[in-house]
């Protein structure tokens, strides 16, 4: 293989992984920004989405679009349930909310393990073939992931930027108390934000299912990644999540291709420490007001 092809593939891979991380990080940062909860169960919703998709589309030949809708919808419902039962009691309580989310992660991961076993499943590619531009080939299976993720991010952006509920969410993220005084129904905004975040995670899982193999244990790594990205980009900042996600995806892809996967993890760790020390509000985050 020529260097050029390797480079292009590395970039495409980096963008694909990066976009998945972006989807994960946006949900994670929304839940933190609005509910003040570091959600350690976030990756488990990704796992549940991927698992449902693998069962519907991979094992039962349900049509693609219906599988996507069902997988994301069912996970969103699960998210709503978890918000009702667990998370809403801990909003604003950073420490206990975080611990509770770990409990939820344990429950979700091991319920899937009990129901469907620990063996990993592969999902047939949704699309095969390559796109060839000027002699360089791009596998469609990866491009689909990138395109799907971009569509999701853009629609979310429209939702946050141009609808009433989006404005309300931004207001709550800035200051829940003031938002309440202004007549925003905070108790509606919390579940909406949580379910949106969960849906993005489930959609990321669906997109990745054909590329990776699916098992009950795949949720933790994206949780850590989302956490890392959100701290790099700025806690609560959506543009920061996008920038951080792409950055981490590309670092991972390049370091993984040219050096080693572990080195890339260590590199990311050092980036986090550097950001946390030099710019604790994150690359694109705003400084928190002084108390």
């Amino acid at each position: 293989m020529s260097m050029e092809i390797i480079l292009v593939q590395t970039v495409v891979n980096g963008l694909m992984v990066g976009m998945i991380y972006v989807l994960m990080a946006i949900g994670f940062t929304m839940v933190f920004g609005i509910m003040r909860i570091v959600n350690f169960a976030h990756g488990e919703f990704y796992m549940v989405g991927a698992f449902l998709f693998a069962i519907l589309y991979g094992s039962n030949d349900v049509p693609f679009s219906i599988s996507v809708l069902l997988a994301v919808g069912a996970t969103a419902l699960l998210g709503l349930l978890m918000e009702r039962i667990v998370f809403r009691r801990f909003r604003g309580n950073e420490l206990n909310g975080m611990i509770a989310s770990v409990g939820v992660a344990l429950i979700l991961q091991n319920s899937v393990l009990l129901m469907w076993g620990s063996s990993s499943r592969t999902v047939p590619p949704v699309i095969s073939g390559v796109l060839s531009v000027g002699g360089i080939v791009f596998p469609w299976s990866r491009l689909v992931v990138i395109i799907g993720a971009i569509v999701a991010v853009v629609s979310l952006n429209l939702l946050i930027g141009h609808t009433r509920i989006g404005r309300a969410m931004r207001a709550v993220a800035q200051d829940a108390e003031i938002a309440q005084v202004q007549g925003i129904r905070v108790d509606v905004i919390f579940p909406v934000a949580f379910v949106l975040g969960v849906s993005l995670a489930a959609f990321a899982g669906v997109l990745m299912a054909p590329v990776l193999s699916v098992s009950p244990f795949i949720g933790l790594a994206p949780t850590l990644k989302a956490f890392v990205i959100v701290v790099i980009g700025g806690l609560g900042s959506v543009p920061g999540a996008v920038a951080g996600g792409l950055l981490i995806g590309l670092i991972e892809s390049f370091a993984g291709t040219f050096v080693s996967a572990s080195l890339s993890e260590i590199l990311q760790f050092l980036v986090v420490i550097a950001v946390v020390l030099l710019r604790p509000q994150g690359l694109l985050g705003r400084k928190e007001r002084e108390a």
Binding site: V102, G103, N110, L114, F269, I273
Partner: protein, 328 residues
């Protein structure tokens, strides 16, 4: 809290519990119970380490990472001919040194950042163990770690090892109790409750938190090493994120203040995984459910139920004293 005037009954209770624990090998129906008790001792040390960190107001989601480091350090040293009894302590010191360095950098920041860095650190410890296979044996881990020997007395079997584990656990328990009563422990509790106020009472709270993190992680390193010499084996899977979570579960379920909480948490939750080994997922679901339910309904842990009852008695006593004073 005030050191409650310790009643003789309290000492009797502690003494009875210690004697019962020490006599276990004689009345345990089979070795499995001794094994369980040994695991309990090691869990207790790990949970006490975590409790010390929590006492100063921080939460470590990477506690297992320090146990892993300790386990590897002690295994590697003893496999190169060092006395395991010595390498145990070196393991604790190495873990403590890493925690001190990491803590000095990171503990200045808000809790969430600290959680991330400790969490990421434990992940990297696992990755390094996998990656540096020329030293660590990679995914296969290190097999045939030498047993501990004390003055030529080799601790090979379960009944031989258990007393040593019990002594280690009880020593840790005693030291933790003394720490909580000392000025340093009081500063830790004050920092956790109101950092700004503690700072303006002339206490360097950052230093207090780094010291707590160092002590707690050092204990984790020691306990990880102890467990490695007991099982005679360590691998990257020995201490994953989910092990860190299980110590956190024991701490939260048992209770975060005082030394009674960790003891209760370990007693309640250590037997569970071993009894439910056949259905692996189920024990974790129970862990998760207990964690969430405890946070919702008994946020100060099961041990707090006892303390609430005791303090109710105490308040009643004080009330009576005041009434008596007013009458006279």
């Amino acid at each position: 809290m005030n050191p409650p005037t310790i009643k003789p009954m309290y000492y009797v209770g502690v003494a009875v519990a210690v004697v019962l624990a020490a006599l276990l090998p004689w009345f345990a129906p089979n070795q499995f119970y001794i094994h369980l008790a040994t695991l309990g001792c090691m869990n207790l040390m790990l949970v006490l380490g975590l409790a010390i960190i929590a006492r100063a107001g921080q939460l470590s989601m990477g506690h297992g990472g320090f146990a892993l480091v300790g386990g590897y350090v002690s295994a590697l040293l003893s496999m190169r001919g060092w006395s395991p009894l010595l390498s145990l302590f070196i393991a604790g010191l190495v873990a403590a040194a890493i925690a001190a360095a990491l803590g000095w950098i990171i503990l200045r920041l808000r809790g969430v950042y600290f959680v991330l860095v400790a969490f990421a650190f434990s992940q990297i410890a696992v990755l390094l163990a996998l990656d540096m296979s020329f030293v660590t044996g990679g995914a296969n881990g290190l097999v045939g770690v030498p047993p501990i020997s004390i003055f030529g007395h080799v601790l090979l079997t379960k009944p031989q090892f258990y007393p040593f584990a019990l002594v280690c656990a009880l020593t840790t328990l005693l030291l933790t109790w003394l720490l909580y009563r000392s000025p340093l422990g009081t500063m830790m509790a004050a920092t956790a409750e109101n950092q700004r106020l503690t700072e303006s009472s002339g206490i360097d709270t950052h230093r207090v938190q780094v010291i707590a993190f160092t002590i707690g992680s050092g204990i984790a390193g020691f306990a990880g090493a102890l467990s490695t010499h007991y099982l005679r084996f360590i691998s990257p899977d020995s201490y994953t994120f989910w092990e860190s979570v299980s110590y956190l579960t024991m701490l939260v379920v048992g209770g975060r203040d005082g030394v009674l909480g960790p003891v209760v948490g370990v007693l309640v939750l250590t037997p569970l995984p071993e009894l439910l080994r056949a259905t692996e997922g189920l024990q974790h679901i129970i862990y998760g459910a207990m964690l969430v339910l405890c946070l919702m309904f008994v946020p100060n842990g099961l041990a707090s139920l006892v303390q609430t009852w005791r303090s109710r008695q105490r308040v009643a006593g004080t009330g009576a004293a005041i009434v008596a004073e007013e009458v006279t």
